[in-house]
Amino acid sequence: MNIKGKAWKFGENIDTDLIIPARYLNTSDPAELAKHCMEDADPEFVKKLSVGDIIVAGKNFGCGSSREHAPIALKAAGIGCVIAPTFARIFYRNAFNMGLPIFESKEASEDIAEGDLVEIHPSTGEIRNLTKGRTYKAQPIPPFMQELIQDGGLIAHILKTLK
């Protein structure tokens, strides 16, 4: 299934404290976390967002803490996927484990402007900027990750293999 939404731009090194501040980590309820998603970067962000919208950010997105609350908050807020040149490694793992698609593309990150309509084909890694009529290529998702996603995330994958 393709991901299609409007792009919201953020800078480099967006850390997990910006994605979901620690003061809200006394809960792990996705709906509660979603209310405060990206709050310290833009207090109005969640209100402006439509379900399926896409975050396009600079390098090292998700740096900082290991809190899974970060991809949970983004997913629960309705973010369809995140595009960045690179992701912090714990966030990268967590995003896949949570079922939040992420795509590494420097080109897309630089060329997509805020408000552009973007469509992503997760199976090919192709990112299409429908506003500008341009196409970018993301790094392909390795086969074992695809298997993990197909099984519905890490836990579902383990339960399947235990059977």
């Binding site: 090194n13 850390d15 404290d17 910006l18 501040p21 620690a22 003061r23 980590l25 006394n26 809960t27 792990s28 310290d40 970067a41 390098k59 090292n60 740096c63 900082g64 803490s65 290991s66 809190r67 899974e68 609350h69 991809p71 690179t86 912090a88 490694r89 714990i90 793992r93 967590n94 484990n97 949570m98 390795p142 074992f144 995330g153 890490l154 836990i155 383990i158 339960l159 235990l162």
Partner: protein, 421 residues
């Protein structure tokens, strides 16, 4: 003759049951210790329960530490700590720490000999990389990865490339492990070691006490690193032997192992460092800090809350007073450190200087509690992160430095090194 490997590669190969691994290879490894805290373990426990699985892989090899929002700051955080307590009781988890037994996890686990050289450790906390100081492959993961390991005792890794950091020369006065790692992050940036293993070597490292090595390994994640490793030496082995209750294996990098990059630094070039808001890479030598008045100073955390850190602070604060209007908060990282600080007279020194001494907790480091900043306030902390809103209001500021700089700054009311006293 086997092919040469780095310490990271050797530990992963041994835990994957392989003779040889190389960067980029995906491996499934046995995990020696899996760790969660009062923020991250509740999610892992929920997932564990959802699976319907009745037993954890090994009740001896899971550590659950309530340290972030303890003593519980509100009802929600009390419920989270209770989840850990209930789960630990249900599954007979041996290493569950709470109340007066608990401390900041990355100070507590090495101190108790729970993590040892040669281990693979995963922790649902990004500063799990601290145990690299012992020569353990230790890294942060999310709660789902923790849940999976609690079930299977295994996890998967992509074998990282390694970067070798060599520190030559001799340390200048008041320069510590904290300054070396801040300097390094300042040079390579917060993603300078992204997806990679950092390996710290050289004559300066050989001379560093364990406490400083823990501080350096702790902040590998602040350069994006997967692990921050030290090759075990006599100090490591002595430290581990005094605490270990199970056998451990020492792995060291082969001399001709291959590295993605080798970086050399001269310690004579390194002054005490301060990281300016809002990234740990925004470092400046103390001589170029300028006039930065402070509202609060925090000494503690998994980075710098050990007895050696408190000793330096006490040495500087002895017979001096905290600047009028500045709040100095000191948090010994574990109950053992707290007791040592009491026996050594440090607590009296801190109280006489006008400090607030808090319980072992992560507390203000992550803006949890016990030292939150108001709008526009500025703090210097011995912690590891200075992101926007990290210690409180989104419009507050955090500066990072060593305990020596922190103590001197508390006395002078502005950022300064001990030489300014």
């Amino acid at each position: 003759m086997t092919k040469p490997m780095t310490i990271a590669e050797k530990i992963l190969a041994a835990h994957a049951g392989l003779d040889y691994v190389e960067p980029g290879q995906l491996v499934q490894v046995n995990v020696d210790i899996a760790l969660g805290n009062d923020i991250t373990a509740p999610i892992a426990i929920k997932i564990f329960r959802q699976t319907g699985i009745q037993k954890v892989f090994d009740a001896q090899r899971i550590a659950l530490v309530s340290d972030h929002f303890v003593p519980n700051k509100d009802i929600k955080s009390a419920e989270q700590a209770k989840m850990l307590r209930d789960f630990a009781r249900e599954h007979g988890i041996v290493h569950h720490y709470d109340g007066g037994e608990s401390g900041v996890e990355h100070a507590l686990l090495p101190e108790k000999g729970i993590v040892l050289p040669g281990d693979v450790v995963i922790g649902a906390d990004s500063h799990t990389c601290t145990y690299g100081a012992l020569g353990a492959f230790a890294t942060g993961v999310g709660s789902t990865d923790l849940a999976a390991t609690m079930i299977t005792g295994k996890t998967w890794f992509k074998v990282p490339e390694s970067i070798k950091f060599i520190y030559n020369g001799r340390l200048r006065p008041w320069v510590t492990g904290k300054d070396l790692i801040l300097y390094t992050i300042g040079k390579i940036g917060v993603d300078g070691a992204l997806y990679q293993a950092m390996e710290f070597c050289g004559p300066v490292i050989d001379g560093l006490p364990m406490a400083d090595r823990f501080t350096m390994a702790n902040m590998a994640i602040e350069a994006g690193g997967k692990v921050g490793l030290f090759n075990p030496d006599e100090k490591t082995i002595e430290y581990a032997k005094a605490r270990a209750k199970r056998p451990f294996t020492v792995y060291k990098s082969d001399e001709n192992a291959s590295y993605a990059q080798v970086m050399e630094f001269n310690a004579e070039d390194i002054e005490p460092q301060v990281a300016f808001p809002h990234l740990p890479e925004n470092t400046r030598p103390i001589s170029q800090v300028g006039d930065v008045p402070l509202d609060q100073v925090v000494i503690g955390s998994c980075t710098n809350g050990r007895i050696e850190d408190l000793a330096v602070a006490a040495q500087i604060l002895k017979g001096r007073r905290v600047a009028k209007g500045l709040r100095l908060i000191i948090l010994p990282a574990t109950p053992t450190i707290y007791a040592q600080a009491m026996e050594l007279g440090y607590l009296k020194t801190f109280l006489e200087a006008g400090a607030v001494i808090g319980p072992p907790t992560c507390g203000p480091c992550l803006g949890g509690h016990m030292g939150i900043l108001a709008k526009g306030e500025r703090a210097l902390a011995t912690t590891n992160r200075n992101f926007v809103g990290r210690m409180g209001h989104p419009e507050s500021e955090v500066y990072l430095a060593s305990p020596a700089v922190a103590a001197a700054s508390a006395v002078l009311g502005k950022i300064a090194g001990p030489d300014s006293l």
